[in-house]
């Protein structure tokens, strides 16, 4: 029995390439005659290009061509972002691109181009734009009115006057929903807590910037890029290049990190694609770290206000939330997700959410690992602690009291979950961390250092359904699993293939993963985002494995006699039950399938398959025994994963420095597919959250509207010395009953858990004082401890 296929540690099949330098990321590819492109970036946060003089650049030796915004097949405009623009809406937005024989020449040519910009009003703070006389990020408005249209939202001066400087002004909100009666909820409460909250925006900064290289051959575009998804990237690339998806070959075998910033292609990919066609040469566009800061996407921060009511027994009777999001120049917002995520933590008896997303002239936002979720968890968890202290209820206990069980509900529609072992995860975490003893250390002082202990519970969506699996047993006797998902380091490219091997009782060394190149015939897949992949593709490959099992049995019956149910499959053979000799190995099955054709080798395909999969099967037809299937398994509710993180910190009251002494995390993410990788995903997410809580920030020059923090050294993600040497981890490991393998996703929820645990532990070290904002920099902490005036306004962003 190949019983070790699920739930064991494996060495991912691409690891040797990664550690010998043979793994090729986008910038590692070369093409005959390849030249280089450089971008000219806007020096102003909002402007209009009046004229461009490229004559000097074009006269330079080695310059091959210049690409302007108007030449893009799909130009930008309004909320639609394109690779290049003549109306930049943030400092650093690309205006044009130059191709030259080498990068130095291209850069020199960019310097020789004269652009006359008409400066336009700009806005960095959403609240400023909500004022009647405040500036707008676009000439035509400051909010998205849906369907790509711009709208305008202004609040009367009285709203701002009533609120004062330290409380969120709460005017009319375009989005509002409620559960129960918020006023009745507060009337019933024994303790009410209320705070102004501010979460910063944070650039994703994957280690690999979004460099890309493109060339054309026989009318087809070949594009090497760095994306989280593969099959789902092709359509986007085709649109931006103005060709049909069939005329695009997208190659992305390795993705050096995305975290939501490279879900299915980047606007900038249009530059080498279109420029290459224009000049008839392969074009490499290297994106530098400096450029990545601008075009590389960022988490959307918010300014807000939260009020919670609790009964004496710790149950949350009311949650009132108002969030004003900084949605960047193109309107990416996640505050609506934030509100939904909050329900998955606390199940408030009554709730009201009001939210608005305001456009600003700051770098574009996109989903970032637990979009909305991480921010709201980090902002609300310290408030729960504050209430717990007032109620004299243990902080772990109050979370257990409010956490959902299997009968829990989600969001304004109050739909159900597929499973929710949240209390089990909290209990496991309490044990792993030794909460009972450690929580007694709160406030203990040792010299200048004060101990703080805190925890964070973080839910996030973790699955989807309806994708396809595609398997081929080739005459080499191996099972080839075609994966349309991307390879961004989560190991899901291998782990989601395991159920197919499991169903066929095949050992892992007989499995080959096919991925990373759309010419390799990849099935319809999920975008590798929203922690969907593990859930969605363990299902799809389980379905395909089951289909393959059926084909093997049918083939054996047809060739060797008897009925399909007489046959078993194990160890790479299909054979009669009770007589291993009466059968054939997979290599033989593949040969016979090719000879028979029809449904055995892809000449006929199930009608229910998605179109992309049908095309992939057609491309493979005749190459082996081919099984493709759609995931038709029932879903039974919202798929959610929860992570709980516990932190012990030491706050140095003289320097404001915080050291993390101990860290432990647990999760309910269903069946554990790959223990070592799961722990790594969780710890890595927790560290990303801690990075946000600790110090990654944006700071702008308010006069010129340009950022000061645009490289690692000014907004550094956590380094190896910033985190504990041995974080601990455990999983509940209870299968989700609504999915055949029982596995749910893990990517997103650790971020909020780590961030919240850190914020709560720091507040604990400060005697329960919540600053209710991130990042918590040393100067902010010290100002509070020393009773000095705050060096920032309570609602101020980018500090």
């Amino acid at each position: 029995m190949a019983e070790n296929v699920i739930g064991t540690d494996i060495s991912p099949p691409d690891l040797r390439a990664k550690i010998t330098g043979r793994a090729r990321y986008a910038e590692d590819f070369r093409a005959e005659g390849m030249v280089f492109a450089k971008l000219l970036l806007s020096p102003m946060p909002h402007a209009r290009v009046r004229s461009v003089d490229t004559s000097a650049a074009e006269a330079m030796e080695g310059v091959l061509g210049i690409l302007r915004a108007e030449e893009l097949p799909v130009p930008g405009g309004g909320l639609r972002e394109a690779a290049l623009t003549d109306e930049p809406k943030y400092e650093g937005e690309p205006i044009l691109a130059v191709a030259a024989v080498d990068e130095t020449t291209a850069a020199a040519a960019v310097e020789a181009i004269r652009v006359d910009f008409e400066p336009l009003p700009f806005v960095l703070d959403p609240l400023e734009s909500l004022r009647e006389d405040g500036p707008d990020a676009h000439v035509d408005g400051n909010i998205s009115a849906g369907r790509g249209e711009l709208g305008s939202l202004k609040w009367p001066a009285s709203v701002f006057e009533e609120a004062g400087a330290d409380r969120l002004p709460m005017g009319e909100a375009p989005t509002e929903w409620a559960i129960g009666d918020i006023d009745a909820g507060f009337a019933e409460a024994d303790v009410v807590v209320e705070e102004t909250i501010v979460h910063q925006s944070v650039t994703h900064h994957p280690m690999e910037p979004r460099s890309c290289m493109a060339y054309w051959q026989n009318g087809k575009l070949f594009l090497h890029g760095s994306t989280q998804s593969t099959e789902r990237t092709r359509g986007g690339v085709a649109r931006m290049a103005g060709v049909e998806p069939d005329d695009v070959v997208f190659i992305g075998e390795y993705c050096g990190g995305g975290f939501g910033s490279k879900i299915s292609g980047s606007p900038i990919m249009a530059v080498p694609a279109v420029l290459s066609r224009k000049i008839g040469r392969p074009v490499m566009l290297r994106i530098t770290r400096y450029e990545e800061n601008y075009i590389g996407r960022a988490r959307a921060g918010f300014q807000g206000w939260a009020k919670m009511g609790f009964r004496a027994d710790g149950r949350m009777t009311a949650l009132d939330l108002y969030l004003v999001q900084d949605s960047g120049p193109f309107g990416a917002s996640d505050v609506f997700t934030a509100a939904t995520v909050a329900t998955a933590s606390y199940q408030p008896e009554n709730m009201r959410f009001r939210g608005v997303a305001i456009l600003t002239n700051t770098p574009p936002r996109s989903a970032q690992r637990a979009p909305g979720g991480a921010q709201i968890v980090a902002m609300l968890e310290p408030l729960v602690d504050k209430a717990a202290r007032e109620l004299d209820v243990d902080r772990l206990e109050i979370r257990k009291i409010n956490a959902p069980g299997h009968d829990g509900w989600l969001g304004p529609q109050q739909g159900g979950f597929t499973s929710a072992y949240v209390r089990e995860a909290l209990d496991l975490g309490g044990e792993l961390f030794n909460w009972e003893e450690k929580s007694q250390l709160s406030g203990q002082r040792n010299g200048t250092k004060v101990t703080g202990v805190g925890m964070g519970l973080s839910p996030f969506t973790a699955g989807s359904a309806g994708r396809d699996g595609l398997l081929v047993i080739r005459p080499d006797g191996k099972l080839h699993v075609h994966q349309g998902i991307g390879n961004l380091g989560t190991h899901s490219i291998a782990d989601t293939a395991r159920p197919a091997a499991d169903v066929l009782d095949l050992s892992w060394d007989q499995v080959e993963i096919v991925w990373g190149d759309t010419s390799k015939h990849l099935p319809f897949s999920t975008v590798q985002a929203g922690s969907q992949t593990t859930h969605a593709h363990t299902r799809a490959n389980h379905a395909a494995g089951t289909a393959m099992l059926g084909l093997l049995q049918e083939l054996a019956a047809r060739e060797l006699g008897g009925s399909p149910t007489d046959y078993r499959v194990a160890d790479g053979r299909v054979f009669r039950a009770g007589n291993r000799a009466a059968g054939m190995d997979f290599a033989e099955a593949a040969r016979r399938a090719i000879a028979i054709g029809g449904k055995f080798s892809g000449q006929e395909v199930p009608e229910e398959l998605n179109d992309a999969t049908k095309a992939a099967v057609a491309g493979l037809a005749g190459e082996g025994l081919i099984a493709a299937a759609r995931d038709n398994y029932s879903r039974g509710g919202s798929v959610y994963t929860w992570v709980a993180t516990f932190a012990q910190v030491e706050l140095d009251v003289e320097t404001g420095e915080v050291e993390i002494i101990d860290l432990a995390s647990t999760t309910d993410c269903g069946t554990v597919m790959h223990p070592r990788s799961l722990a790594a995903q969780t710890n890595g997410g927790v560290f990303q959250g801690i990075g946000m809580a600790k110090g990654q920030r944006w700071v702008f020059d308010p006069k010129w509207g340009i950022p000061f923090t645009k490289r690692f050294y000014t907004a550094r993600p956590p380094g190896i010395l910033d985190v504990p040497l041995s974080p601990r981890f455990a999983a509940v490991d209870e299968p989700d009953p609504h999915t055949p393998v029982g596995a749910k996703g893990i990517g997103e929820p650790p971020v909020g858990a780590g961030e919240a645990a850190y914020v709560c532990a720091v507040a604990d070290a400060m005697g329960g004082l919540c600053l209710c904002r991130t990042p918590l920099t040393a100067d902010m902490i010290l100002a509070e401890l020393e009773g000095r005036p705050r060096p920032y306004g309570l609602l101020e962003t980018h500090v």
């Binding site: 550690i19 910038e27 971008l39 994957p206 690999e208 927790v686 550094r716």
Partner: protein
């Protein structure tokens, strides 16, 4: 309002270059392009001066003598990647902030993005491609395989080279010492726990092979 003043200052045919000067005068930094070599005015003299220096030099990379034609200002990371086809050395920041380009010079770790190719003449350069010997993985690489190290792995070659350098300096590190010695490398996936497991395993393998 500051902004109004800034906009007014810029109206009236402000060019990109003038704007930058204004911003620089205001104490901020700005550039239109994230160049490899940034800052207007730096380029022209470099380009015209190219012919004046000896460009054809010999460098020793992974035990092989390689003749390369490089301008004075080219960094080792660029030469490795674009002239010698050694793309295992990654560029993550090009400013000595992330360590993805870490290579060894005479056994000592250096950021390949921050050293000029002309300055490594006569020194032994080792890159990730040079660790494997006759198909056998270096203890550091074997440790990665054993521990399932790294996630996206864009930082992996740099970390691996730092681990090799670490073992030269301290063949028997504690976990704390390993963290200290690897702190010049950044992993955005935050896979530090597994990286430290790998470093400890590498030290173990290295001792047993010695």
């Amino acid at each position: 309002m500051l902004q109004t003043e800034a906009i007014q200052a810029r109206r009236g045919g402000f060019t990109r270059r003038k704007f930058i000067k204004g911003v620089i005068a205001a104490g901020a930094t700005a550039s239109v392009s994230g160049y490899l070599f940034r800052g207007s005015g730096v380029f022209a003299p470099m380009l015209t001066a190219q012919g004046a220096v000896e460009r054809l030099i010999t460098v020793t990379v992974n035990g092989q003598q390689r003749r390369v034609d490089v301008p004075k200002y080219e960094t080792l990371a660029m030469t490795l990647r674009y002239q010698l086809g050694l793309t295992g050395t990654k560029l993550g920041c090009d400013r000595a902030e992330c360590g993805a380009c870490t290579v060894l010079l005479d056994g000592v770790t250096h950021y390949g993005c921050s050293i000029l190719t002309h300055s490594v003449q006569g020194r032994e350069v080792t890159t990730i491609e040079g660790l494997e010997q006759d198909g056998e993985l270096h203890p550091v690489q074997q440790a990665v395989m054993d521990e399932g190290g790294f996630q996206c792995a864009f930082c992996a070659p740099g970390f691996a080279m730092s681990m090799v350098g670490m073992l030269e300096k301290n063949p028997n590190p504690t976990r704390e010492e390993a963290a200290e010695l690897l702190s010049g490398n950044l992993c955005r996936c935050g896979d530090y726990d597994k990286i430290l497991n790998t470093a400890m395993r590498a030290a173990e393998l290295s001792r047993s092979r010695a």
